[in-house]
């Protein structure tokens, strides 16, 4: 089994982990998380500015482009801790967009945009469509050549953080092949955007009608790198969503344990009943496995085959863990668990959303079977 990679860590990763743990705990108490759910923007722009100032958006951006020159290995703990506190921000979307540019962008695109992202500007991706079913290269949105550029037609869905983003990387078919294009904020018509109702209310997603959006020749990413770019986006999203899920699992278990340690029935703390205790322990055991797999994936992400196997394994385990932990958390809170005031549903909703965007555990297990069997 050791050919699947060893766990490891980097000093920088541990520094980021410790910093993110404190920052997210301090800036995203549950009251704040709930207050932001009802806000239009969905996140605190002052906190977002601080995240920019901390340099976290530049962690995996090469030094040539104004970043720290580290890698996704060191981004994972940030997403893990944000997921743990359910801190809302365009961090994950922006990190993904930056990765799309790093792998698929032209020199000019990278030189222009990456330094600004590293400074704290937001970006996002518009990949999803109504009939896409997790294959990023199946696009109905079309790019047609015009004089000096392209015009886009079709509709994107589940575009996260569209309102916050300065740049959106859009996938569209060009000559029957999926390709990526950069659309700038100024090119988005406000009437073309509709905020969608998402199950995870801490996130902001949009339907976006692209019809008539004109972009220049220079907005197209490097066509020779598209296969690599799509694959990298898929695996990066899988890794970072797994990190959010794993962090969420830790918090969800803590939240459940706290209730089991305070609520009494039949004159006993309900945590003393094995019918509740044992499933929570099972969730905790699964969480420990999830965290081991996550950090293995973070450490081995860039190794050609090991990285893919590790990332998908981490996701499968993270999905399984939070889905189970949050489901049981609702149940074990009894009548209170059925209310909006109980936080258990926030975790369950998070798990449903995160496993819906780039593939759920069954999808990744199918991919793993093809890689391993």
């Amino acid at each position: 089994m050791s050919q699947f990679g060893q766990i490891g860590f980097t000093e920088e990763q541990i520094d980021v982990l410790n910093g993110a743990e404190t920052f997210c705990r301090d800036h995203a108490p549950i009251g704040t998380v709930r207050a932001l759910i009802t806000s239009d923007l969905g996140y605190d722009d002052k906190v977002w500015a601080q995240i920019g100032a901390l340099g976290w958006l530049g962690i995996a951006i090469p030094e040539t482009y104004g970043g720290l020159g580290l890698s996704l290995t060191e981004v994972v703990p940030v997403c893990e801790q944000m997921g743990r506190r359910m801190m809302a921000s365009p961090f994950l979307s922006t990190s993904l967009a930056a990765q799309a540019l790093i792998v698929g962008g032209t020199l000019a695109q990278k030189s222009k945009i990456l330094p600004q992202i590293a400074q704290g500007k937001a970006a996002s991706l518009a990949l999803s469509e109504r009939n896409q079913a997790w294959d990023l290269t199946r696009c109905d949105v079309q790019a047609r050549r015009t004089q000096g550029g392209y015009v886009l037609t079709g509709t994107k869905t589940l575009v996260l953080d569209l309102e916050a983003a300065e740049w959106i990387i859009v996938s569209a078919n060009l000559d029957q092949k999926a390709c990526l294009f950069i659309v700038e904020k100024e090119q988005i018509l406000e009437t073309a955007m509709r905020r969608e109702i998402l199950i995870d209310e801490t996130k902001r997603g949009w339907e976006w009608v692209l019809d008539g959006t004109e972009i220049t020749e220079e907005a197209c990413l490097d066509k020779s790198k598209m296969d690599a770019a799509f694959k990298h986006i898929h695996l990066t999203a899988t890794l970072l969503f797994a990190a959010e899920l794993t962090g969420g699992a830790q918090a969800c278990i803590d939240y459940t344990v706290e209730y089991l340690n305070t609520r009494k029935q039949f004159d006993k703390l309900i945590g003393s009943f094995q019918a509740l205790k044992h499933p929570v322990v099972d969730a905790f055991v699964e969480y420990q496995k999830a965290r081991s797999l996550l950090y293995m994936a973070a450490f081995n992400f860039y190794k050609p085959e090991q990285g893919e196997v590790a990332t998908r394994m981490a996701f499968v385990q993270a999905d399984k863990t939070l889905s189970f932990a949050a489901d049981r958390s609702i149940q074990f809170h009894g009548g209170f668990g059925f209310t909006y005031d109980c936080d258990a549903h926030l975790y369950r909703r998070r798990a449903i959303f995160n496993t819906s965007q780039y593939g759920d555990r069954h999808y990744h297990k199918t991919k793993l079977a093809d890689l391993l069997l």
Binding site: M1, I253, D282, V285, Q288, K289, S292, L368
Partner: protein
């Protein structure tokens, strides 16, 4: 000594072990070997494994980290771990004297007297003296703290009356680590217990073989009738038996180091089951084409990967800060349940042939997986059942209230 020097020495030791085991690992005998130390059922198996353990010890690959003065190798734990890794990798036969190597030995080295160490340690390593464990009783299994076997002090002896059960190697053992009640009227049931190193081959001790669910023998019920043991076998003070017993269980649950090394169980390699899946057919097609089977196999591979990584992460403090004891505490539960489940799954791959059993010439791998599945329960029940393990993890790692 500098770190690099140590690791180059360990590397050399590992290379030496590689060469020795390549040369000396015995061919598989014409009878079936036990998969775990708990399954030694025949004298043939016993003699084969005892000879093997002695050979490994004499070559210096067992007890390498135990003190030289008592028969160990006087090297570092890293040396022994390297040798054990070679044994695990090569899947050499298991070490027979598991209770001695993994439980009694570390305990004696931790808290025994000089005389105890001189008397017991070397013969544990050479398998000259077999050890067994007397914890469970017919009426007190999971409720171990309620054990009732009585030990009454009489001069420089204790007189034992009662019965112990599920005594692995009870029939062969020369010594037992024993939990007995020295004070039947203590207010707290735990405070009435004491812990002994006790001889087995004395008047008043009888062992009766118990037949296991596999049909084999492997452990005994042990009866004590006015059996007199020397008082100097008391470990710790009278009344501290529970604490000492918990310490030995920590060795057993891998939560504390100090074991002599070697492997006590044959670990299932998920890739081994892949071979089975490649051969197995269903409806004329390889079962490997069945999407449900594929999903299950991937799940087993993820699990195997996860607990391999858990062990590695446990060595990285910054990635464990929330609950450092969690991974060691859950290791027994995870491993034993995994073994049970993967063996069970192996049966489902065999189609009609899953209906055969050990000894039937048409059985796949001579019933290896059948025996593995049934025997797997010895580990999900013994040493604290999986249900008790969940209580322990819940109470000690998560801080949940006690279940009583």
């Amino acid at each position: 000594m500098k770190k690099t020097e140590i690791s180059s020495e360990v590397q050399a030791f590992s290379t030496e072990a590689e060469a020795w085991f390549a040369e000396n690992t015995p061919a598989y005998p014409d009878f079936m070997l036990p998969l775990t130390f708990m399954e030694v059922g025949t004298d043939q198996q016993f003699d084969f494994l005892r000879d093997w353990q002695r050979k490994v010890y004499e070559a210096g690959f067992l007890g390498a980290a135990w003190p030289k003065a008592y028969g160990g190798g006087g090297l570092s734990q890293a040396h022994q771990d390297a040798a054990t890794a070679v044994m695990r990798k090569r899947k050499v036969p298991i070490m027979l004297n598991a209770i001695g190597l993994g439980w009694a030995g570390p305990l004696i080295l931790d808290m025994g007297t000089e005389a105890h160490k001189q008397k017991y340690i070397k013969n544990i390593l050479s398998a000259e003296d077999m050890w067994c464990q007397g914890f469970s009783e017919p009426e007190h299994g999971s409720d171990l703290g309620n054990a009732q076997l009585s030990a009454v002090k009489d001069g420089d002896e204790y007189v034992l009356n009662g019965s112990k059960i599920w005594t692995t190697h009870g029939h062969y053992a020369k010594y037992m680590i024993l939990l007995a009640r020295t004070n039947p009227s203590s207010a707290n049931k735990y405070a009435g217990l004491s812990f002994f190193l006790a001889p087995m081959k004395i008047d008043g001790i009888e062992t009766h073989k118990i037949r296991k669910l596999t049909g084999e023998h492997g452990f005994t019920q042990t009866f004590f009738t006015n059996a007199r043991i020397p008082a100097d076998g008391l470990m710790g003070a009278e009344g501290q038996g529970w604490k000492v017993a918990m310490q030995t269980l920590m060795y057993e649950r891998n939560a504390k180091g100090g074991q002599a090394g070697g492997t006590f169980i044959t670990e299932n390699d998920p890739l081994e089951i892949l071979e089975l899946a490649r051969m197995a057919k269903r409806g004329g097609e390889p079962v490997l084409k069945d999407p449900i089977i594929r999903e299950k196999l991937v799940e087993f591979m993820i699990d195997a990967q996860a607990f391999r990584l858990n062990a590695a992460r446990a060595q990285i403090p910054p990635l464990n800060q929330d609950c450092p004891q969690a991974i060691p505490l859950m290791s027994k539960l995870i491993h034993t349940e995994y073994t049970r489940r993967i063996n069970e799954f192996a049966l489902s791959l065999q189609g009609a042939k899953a209906g055969y059993y050990v000894g039937e010439p048409n059985a796949i791998d001579d019933g290896y997986w059948h025996r593995g599945y049934l025997n797997a329960f010895s580990a999900t029940i013994g040493g604290g059942t999986s249900q008790i393990q969940r209580n322990i993890i819940g109470e000690h790692a998560l801080g949940l209230p006690k279940t009583r």
